[in-house]
């Protein structure tokens, strides 16, 4: 009987200890959650930083699907697939691809290899061009890359590239503009004020919703955020056109050129010229931009 009472007392003591621990720890965990934007992401909570490795794998898997399974393994020549083609085709990332993408397998090494190639995807195709059937009416099959991109974005929500690629295919090839907008908003939730995401969002407002004022304010915000991104790095360094800082100068160029176009359409020639002059700093063809500036100056003098 005594031992039974002791047991109950111990149980009560443990219950009180647990209760007290809960009251102490709960506010601390809440404070951690507030500082960590990703804490409400199930995958990131479960896998920690390793989720980024899986995210990259799933991004590559989307590219494998884009090629209908025709994709180099670690044993093959990957030089033409260094940058996934789903990202390269968006034009928003620097390409590191070189070499022949249609023949990474090379000639058959032996009779077994030659025979085995009849049983695997053995031709370079893209889903948006009809895939293995070469039937352009089936170009909407590019939708098959979406599950892997979606999963990749959930595993690594801070990877801007995934949202950009997903939004590009949704908007340009699948005509799902509102879904693309939703994806970009989701990206901005995890990457607040990212200029690349803001730029794409602005394009949706300008090209699809035909709301130039809203697009302008988004792009101007993107330019401001771009300026605040790397406080210690000199502007000349950031605007040096190279593959290493592609994201930096490319987005600056695109924002300036798109803003120039908007200002021209609105009749604000001086503002348009100012944006084009900024774009000239990074453009590979400044003479083309100079022609545009000259035309705008003529227009401005006429009004």
């Amino acid at each position: 009987m005594t031992s039974g009472k002791t047991l109950w007392l111990w149980l009560l003591a443990f219950f009180l200890l647990c209760f007290n621990l809960a009251t102490v720890l709960q506010p601390r965990f809440q404070a951690i959650e507030k500082t960590n934007r990703q804490s409400n992401n199930f995958f990131v909570l479960l896998l920690g930083d390793s989720s980024r490795i899986f995210a990259n794998d799933f991004f590559i898997k989307a590219d494998v699907y884009y090629h209908s399974g025709y994709y180099p393994t670690i044993f093959d020549n990957k030089s033409a697939f260094e940058t996934p083609h789903i990202a390269e085709d968006t034009g928003a990332v620097a390409s590191h691809n070189h070499g022949e993408e249609t023949d990474f397998m090379g000639p058959p090494r032996d009779w077994l290899d030659a025979f085995g190639r009849h049983f695997i995807p053995n031709r370079h195709t893209h889903l948006d061009e009809g895939g293995p059937t070469d039937d352009l009416s089936k170009s909407s099959q590019v939708r098959e890359i979406l599950p892997w991109l979606d999963l990749s974005s959930k595993l690594d929500p801070e990877n801007v590239k995934t949202y950009l690629v997903m939004a590009y295919w949704l908007r340009n090839k699948l005509n799902q503009v509102s879904a693309a907008e939703q994806v970009l908003h989701e990206g901005l939730r995890y990457n607040q004020g990212n200029p690349q995401l803001l730029f794409e969002l602005g394009r949706i407002y300008e090209e699809d919703y035909h709301e130039p004022d809203r697009a302008r304010s988004i792009w101007e915000a993107a330019l401001r955020m771009w300026g605040q991104e790397q406080p210690g790095v000199p502007l000349s360094e950031r605007l040096k056109p190279s593959n290493e800082n592609f994201d930096d100068w490319f987005i600056f160029d695109q924002l300036q050129q798109h803003l120039a176009h908007l200002e021209k359409e609105a009749g604000n020639y001086d503002a348009a010229i100012a944006h084009l002059r900024q774009a000239q700093r990074v453009s590979s063809k400044p003479e083309d931009l100079q022609k545009q500036i000259d035309e705008l100056e003529k227009e401005a003098s006429r009004h």
Binding site: Y65, S68, G69, T73, F75, R109, D110, L112, D113, F115, G116, H118, F119, I120, P121, G131, P132, T133, R143, E144, L146, P147, W148, D150, L170, L174, Q176, A179
Partner: protein
């Protein structure tokens, strides 16, 4: 042949009572249905990820069924002391081995029919097409691969001490062949002798199970059908290995003490 069929029938009846197939089949269905219920941008025509997953589960499940079922056939007869009474009947050791093999191979075939019927139904639910010939090619070569695996497991059950070790080793061999079998020659090329020759020998000696395994990608991504001549050539290639493993099992079993 009657004796062989009688043994095969016993294996078939035994598998009918066991739960492995039902568990794996239901598990495959449940996983696929859960994955299929995920909403991806409100687009209900997205199917390839589901086909990919379903085919992978079918391959894994069929290998589990084939290996675990075959690995315990001879050891179970020995443990239950039914091997001696069996061989006391007008039944040769080779007939016993072939009967066991045939039973296990037929069971694998029946399991594959169920699995591929589900796969076809799953794919048709979203694609609204039924590429029967593609599925027939894939299922036929899959069945041939399982024939080789069954023969290998049967041989393993005579070489290795316990069914568990046999199953593990055969699983490891199958996984290794399916993952790197195709690239062994590339791995061998930069090596120094004698490692190079050894790896080349392995490359040419192993049954290349990864060839039909690679067909998954053709089915998932809707590639055109393979020429039937290649399918039958591959079936012949696998059949040669199947016969080799069966003869080896027969030779070993002939010299084995029954008790």
């Amino acid at each position: 042949m009657r004796n062989v069929l009688a043994i095969a029938k016993v294996v078939l009846l035994e598998m009918y009572r066991r739960k492995e197939f039902y568990v794996l089949f239901i598990l495959t269905i449940v996983i696929c249905l859960i994955m299929g219920s995920i909403n991806i941008f409100n687009d209900n025509q997205i199917i390839r990820y589901l086909k990919d997953l379903c085919l992978l589960l079918i391959w894994v499940s069929s290998l589990i069924i084939a290996i675990t079922m075959t690995a315990r056939q001879i050891p179970a007869e020995r443990e239950q002391r039914t091997l001696l009474p069996l061989l006391a009947k007008p039944l040769s050791r080779n007939q016993l081995i072939f009967g066991k093999f045939l039973g296990c191979w037929i069971v694998c075939g029946l399991a594959l029919i169920c699995f591929y019927a589900f796969f076809g139904a799953l794919a048709a639910s979203r694609e609204h097409q039924w590429p029967l010939l593609h599925y027939l090619q894939a299922a036929f070569l899959h069945w041939m691969v399982l024939g080789v695996v069954v023969a290998m497991s049967l041989l393993g059950s005579l070489v290795f001490a316990a069914p568990s070790s046999n199953s593990t080793i055969i699983f490891a061999i199958c996984a290794a062949i399916m993952c790197v079998g195709r690239y062994l020659d590339q791995i061998a090329a930069p090596m120094h002798e004698p490692a190079r020759s050894i790896v080349y020998f392995i490359y040419y000696a192993i049954p290349h199970l990864e060839i039909p395994f690679g067909m998954r990608n053709l089915i998932v991504h809707d590639w055109p059908i393979i020429g039937w001549n290649f399918v039958f050539l591959d079936a012949l290639y696998l059949l040669a290995y199947l016969v080799f493993f069966l003869i080896a099992a027969g030779l070993i079993f002939r010299r084995r003490a029954i008790n």
